[in-house]
């Protein structure tokens, strides 16, 4: 068993961290508040091969794994730039298309996801289905050489910066009444697709959307993998999604604790730095321990996924849970350490509250993970 990263993984951390710091949290905040997009940073990350580290070299990727991709997400977040679309475009969509897409589909979509020239969104959540994927109501019906999509999706991230969306649809119903799912790529400019922004209280360049599919036609060539096999295919993308969510949270937590420690070493109130007082030092030390534990679980989950070990699902869920809880506590303590400054824009902590708090809710809620662990890891009966 080995617990140290290779020289190449360490070098990747160093290079991504440098790139992230050259933009920094101020760039992230200014971009978000001005309604801009983090395109400049995204394209630089693509140019240096950081976006596609986990994808095939044949299409311009790095040929490594989700372990390396979570390094990219963590280091950018630790530099104050948590890029949520990393969770979606290369992790979910990239993983699924690489595994189940045909050669032409990979050529068409993977290459530009890797280079950063285009971004792919992912649409699964629906107003009436929530986390129950069997109940998805968006349908795709074959009509000649096309699929025709009808339905509604919501809380779909970054549609305005994406060229296409990987949409989870229902193409049939099994004997138990459960949806047979299929994954279909829909261009964001397809006629009949309308997008409405959902206003959210979160400082981030990525916006959230409600999507209405009103007889949206796409050619059947846009089906990824096998019709009706979507649920199984999804898992190739959903474990990376949880691992990447955890990595973004771990990065934000590191960023917050570094700022808190810097402040506590310098800020003096009664003649000594406030970090001298155990009332300040111990909560930060406690937060640091939990963040390191969450990072360890995230790294283990990524390693298991890359090894194609079936234990990856359980580990990815646990990592996402642990990273959200540890990160929220770390950021909260960092804000507390800063006194009134903790809520200022200048100190760049409260600006991360939205993206950090999001991790307890998305991509899967804390409660759904507890349900999963209760049922799968402890063998307890299911309530649903």
């Amino acid at each position: 068993m080995e617990f140290h990263e290779t020289e190449e993984q360490q070098a990747l951390r160093g290079a991504v961290g440098k790139l992230g710091r050259s933009f920094g949290h101020e760039y992230f905040v200014e971009t978000a508040k001005s309604g801009g997009k983090s395109t400049a940073l995204w394209q630089m990350a693509g140019k240096y091969g950081f976006l596609g580290v986990n994808l095939a070299e044949e299409y311009g990727g790095g040929g490594a794994g989700v372990y390396e991709l979570q390094i990219v997400a963590e280091e950018l977040a630790a530099a104050g730039c948590p890029l949520l679309m990393l969770v979606v475009s290369p992790a979910i969509c990239g993983s699924i298309i690489q595994t189940f897409g045909g050669k032409e589909q990979r050529e068409r979509w993977l290459r530009s996801i890797i280079s950063g020239e285009s971004i792919m969104s992912f649409a699964i959540t629906e107003p009436d289905a929530g986390s129950n994927s069997h109940n998805l109501a968006t349908t795709a019906t074959r009509d000649g050489g096309d699929y025709v999509l009808r339905g509604t999706k919501y809380y779909i991230s970054g549609v305005d910066e994406a060229d296409a969306i990987l949409v989870v649809t229902r193409t049939g119903t099994d004997h138990a009444g459960r949806g047979q799912l299929s994954l279909i790529v829909v261009p964001t400019d397809a006629p009949g697709l309308s997008k409405t922004v959902i206003p959210v209280e979160m400082t981030a360049p990525e916006k959230q959307f409600t999507l209405f599919f009103d007889d949206v036609r796409v050619p059947t060539e846009n089906l990824i993998g096998t019709e009706g096999d979507g649920l199984r295919q999804l898992f190739q993308g959903l474990n990376p999604e949880r691992i990447m969510g955890a990595a973004v949270g771990n990065g934000i937590a590191r960023y917050a604790l570094e700022k808190a420690a810097d402040y506590a070493r310098v800020r003096q109130v009664w003649g000594v730095p406030i970090g001298t007082h155990q009332g300040v030092a111990h909560p930060l030390a406690h937060a640091r321990i939990n963040v390191d534990l969450a990072r360890l679980m995230t790294q283990r989950a990524a390693w298991l996924h890359d090894e194609r070990d079936p234990l990856a699902g359980e580990a990815a869920n646990m990592a996402k849970f642990a990273a959200a809880e540890a990160g929220i506590a770390a950021l909260d303590q960092a804000i507390q350490t800063h006194g009134g400054n903790g809520l200022s824009t200048e100190y760049g902590l409260a600006t991360l509250w939205g993206p950090m708090r999001l991790m307890r809710t998305a991509p899967i809620s804390r409660e759904m993970i507890l349900n999963y662990v209760a049922r799968h890891s402890l063998g307890l009966p299911s309530s649903y």
Binding site: E8, L12, K18, G49, F50
Partner: protein, 259 residues
């Protein structure tokens, strides 16, 4: 065109540096990293080789404990190979013995041009590169803010206090570059993976035709006798503007004789 870049691997400046108590030399026990100021030289060399349409960039470094971490960073940026001189006999080397070692290693690569930073971020003597040029018997130009090579010559804009000088010398030559001569690239992921397989030739002092007594503490002509901590910077003076702030500023500027 073949270019050698002298790169120094130094203790991470993010951690507080330490000096040995007897010899007052920098402690280099931990992992060493590429001196940031050398990233400019590596980038300049890569661009010159690109512009020449052929050739390669070779790194030359002297470091203890067979350290290659910093070299891997520069190889990941795109350098083709590295020569590392690592030998216990080199401990305590002064600038001149370092220059002798580097010059001997550079000769093996037979470059058209040698590039170095103006000074290292840990030692700050700023004398090693020109001593290398002297040992090699080649012309040198320091403080380059722009470098171009054509027809067997190197043309340099050399930074001065008031502007820059245009200097031209024939190759082979040595040029030291300032931070800002070019914007260094980051190592790409492909570069990082490729660096793993690039050759690093490790040499001892005797491989270079030098005697251990000529280098290291034994051969040093310079000795650090004592070290004083830098004086803490005095607190600045705060001027409260009560409508006469501009007068106080003018008086201050007159006092330090800038107006």
């Amino acid at each position: 065109m073949n270019v050698v870049v002298c790169v120094k691997q130094i203790p991470d400046p993010a951690n507080p540096g330490k000096l040995t108590s007897e010899t007052h030399t920098i402690v280099r026990d931990g992992k060493l990293i590429l001196d940031d100021s050398d990233a400019y030289g590596v980038e300049m060399a890569l661009q010159l080789v690109d512009a020449a349409g052929g050739g390669e960039v070779t790194l030359v470094s002297m470091a203890p404990h067979s350290e290659t971490s910093g070299l891997r960073t520069a190889l990941a940026m795109g350098a083709a190979k590295a020569i590392l001189v690592s030998d216990d006999a080199l401990a305590g080397s002064d600038a001149l013995s370092t220059a002798k070692v580097l010059a001997a290693a550079i000769k093996r690569a037979e470059p058209d041009l040698v590039i170095a930073a103006t000074e290292s971020t840990d030692g700050y003597t700023g004398t090693t590169p020109v001593q290398v040029a002297e040992v090699l018997g080649w012309p040198s130009i320091s403080f380059a803010k722009k470098v171009a090579v054509a027809d067997g010559t190197v043309k340099v804009d050399r930074q001065t206090e008031t502007g820059y000088d245009s200097v031209e010398v024939s190759l082979p030559a040595l040029v030291t570059v300032t931070a800002g001569v070019v914007e260094p690239r980051y190592p790409s992921f492909k570069g990082i993976m490729a660096a793993k397989g690039k050759p690093v030739e490790e040499l001892k002092v005797t491989d270079l035709g030098l005697e251990p007594g000529q280098v290291g503490a034994a051969g040093a002509r310079q000795e650090v006798v004592s070290v004083e901590p830098a004086e803490a910077r005095k607190a600045g003076e705060i001027v409260v503007d009560e409508g006469d702030g501009y007068e106080k500023i003018v008086a201050f500027l007159e006092q330090i004789k800038v107006i």
